[in-house]
Symmetry: C2
Subunit: 458 residues, 2 copies
Amino acid sequence: MEETRALARFVVNSRLDDVPEPARHEARRSLVNWLGCALGGSRHDAINIALTALGPFSGPPQAAVLGRLERLDILHAALINGMSAHVLDFDDTHLRTLLHPSVPVASALLALGERRALTGADFLHAFILGVEVECRIANAIYFAHNVNWYITGTAGAFGAAAAAGRVLGLDEQKMTWAFGIAATQAAGLREMAGTMCKSFVHGRAAQNGMTAALLATKGFTSSERTIEAPRGFAHVLAARCRLEEITDRLGERYEIALNTYKPYACGVVCHPVIDGCIQLRDRHSFKLEQIAAVELRVHPLALKLTGTKAPQGGLESKWSIYHSAAVAICDGGAGEHQYTDERVRAPKVQRLRERISAEADASLREDEAHVTITLADGRILERHVEHAIGSAGNPMSDRDLEDKFRGLADGVLPLAQTNALIEKCWSVATLADVAEIARMAVPNPPRSPFEKGGWRVL
Amino acid sequence: MEETRALARFVVNSRLDDVPEPARHEARRSLVNWLGCALGGSRHDAINIALTALGPFSGPPQAAVLGRLERLDILHAALINGMSAHVLDFDDTHLRTLLHPSVPVASALLALGERRALTGADFLHAFILGVEVECRIANAIYFAHNVNWYITGTAGAFGAAAAAGRVLGLDEQKMTWAFGIAATQAAGLREMAGTMCKSFVHGRAAQNGMTAALLATKGFTSSERTIEAPRGFAHVLAARCRLEEITDRLGERYEIALNTYKPYACGVVCHPVIDGCIQLRDRHSFKLEQIAAVELRVHPLALKLTGTKAPQGGLESKWSIYHSAAVAICDGGAGEHQYTDERVRAPKVQRLRERISAEADASLREDEAHVTITLADGRILERHVEHAIGSAGNPMSDRDLEDKFRGLADGVLPLAQTNALIEKCWSVATLADVAEIARMAVPNPPRSPFEKGGWRVL
């Protein structure tokens, strides 16, 4: 079976009319969530540093840096916007594989939409196709891949290549090459957890995938059996794989329909525990000092991925189930403000964190958890969360997503602009030019350092 | 043991005076060979396509594209020059690991030398350090890594990061981060053999490593145990590793001293066979039509890496031991002209290729081979090559390297300029500004498309 070519053929031949309306609506929800996250992350230190370090090497100011005044060439814009959209760990999740679908695909596509005519409908279609490609490849490998790799950095580059390649009009042969060029850049070690490199890996997937599509346009060649070859992407980056996942009912069911959104700004495997902690806090009356112990029972993956007991900083705390439970009990929430360096060092959070223990239970689902709080007076408070908020079994509503967007854009854009931008996202399929969204997603006046005489030199 | 930090400390604290003169001379030889290869490869289709596809996104014209009129930002220059230097498969080889040491390191460094003041001595020193880092990391993993990955794409990015980081004045902490940022981009599937992606992987190592150093300069963070952590670079990209290789006699012996240069424009594991074929052709009198069979006996790796019986094009033929033996017998050589699409399709080469068989013999070294030609009249011609020309046991002389350079630069630069450039390379340690070399390595007049009004739009 030639999976690589089958995916290329699908992307080249798909028509938007083939995509069922529920999948299209989920794509719009993904766009709202992605853009909100990019705005919210746009002032993060990782973004400031990357812009300072790499800005002097950017090409012409072709595309917006979302939420900011700079403009960059489209490849750098894809990188930086992908980083912003992920850096808060607040972006969407394909739960089966833990891939973050929108970051590589939307970050590449919107930048490309500023460079060439692209209707909102074509944007939406290419977005759906990009997500389809990356999630199907992820389905084939995640179980033997995620322990070492960030799957958004690896499979995600294929998604960006597919979406950009579709918009650039690649034929089947060139789309096949684009997948190979993407694969040969696929990278991202999970060892980078808790550091700025994590967002870098995610932004690089957008940039690398777009690079692949651009090179393929001009006839740059690669392997034509990139995914399935014995030394190809799947076999090398996963000890076991299920290649049949890649073409299973291709064009009949759409992976975008399975996308989920986080109510909390941390690793998705922490979410059921956070739900449980907030619910116990809201339903019972107790003071922090009364807590003797907090016991968590979770899916084994949660402990594997978020088992850091004493995180050293904000980024690392997003991958600590102990910190997540502590702030949920202390603050009744787990938004971006709960995962800052300051909050990590706050004495009352620290003290509570030390009283929390966690145990893996293979009988639980990933979106399920048990939380038990034992108080000094002997009371035992228990909560069983069957489906975390934001999971497939308990999704965020469109209104929830709008509220999340407004919270993230607060301080970045004026509220009226934010509301208009949300409206644009919902009506994306009717836009004559998707670049309208990029233009509205920057503060006014949109003056760039380029316009003021270029970047500061190295 | 903290290998990552130990390497960072070494790079930060090294002094050129610590490096023995033979290692410094080998570095100069490497520079001559690298630059010649970059000039020779500069007109290849892969380079033309990459420049056309990516040029419109280049930043300011900061650095030369060797052998050409374009100027690019230093990151794109590192990419394209790295691709040019490798695309003919004629570049240097660290025989133990099959890493191509100069491509990532020199391609990043020379571009950086056009952006900031850099003496030839500091260039040479940083080059030696970059090679040291990449080769030591390669020593730790190659035996369980090369079957799937291009080690220059993976370990090479560390070399470029080390060299660029040294020139940028990184301290130990930031150098440690630079290694992490490099590792998180480490990529390059061997599945891409025979396609344009192979040179892309090699150029990307230069670009990615420089990106890592630039980000680290501004404080971009990564893991601090990138190489040795349980989920770090070595363990994830190799099923087995020998981490002790990384620090073994660090600062006492230098890997650059082990560098080798190819007399032939193809995979180094083919070279002993080519020697044998040329020697039999020169010493015996026979016609091509008389050949009944050619039998090769080689190290098993040679068959694993270059076992393609019927290559489809020039790039793929560089990895066919059958094609290499055929052209060596037909043409008495194996330069870049023997590995073109035309030569692959030439009927007499094709007919001879079909009469060649090869067998693996684990008792042979990698630079050793037996060649047996059986003629229709019953004569049997045999040749045992103990050490291929260009191997450590039989190195090319300085004069050989100059001749190779002149052959590669022919048609790119006028002979007088070529000779002056070779002289500059030999005297690099005395140059006040290494950018002189970059300026001399382009045709006159050095007018760039930027000066003429920018790149053609997408």
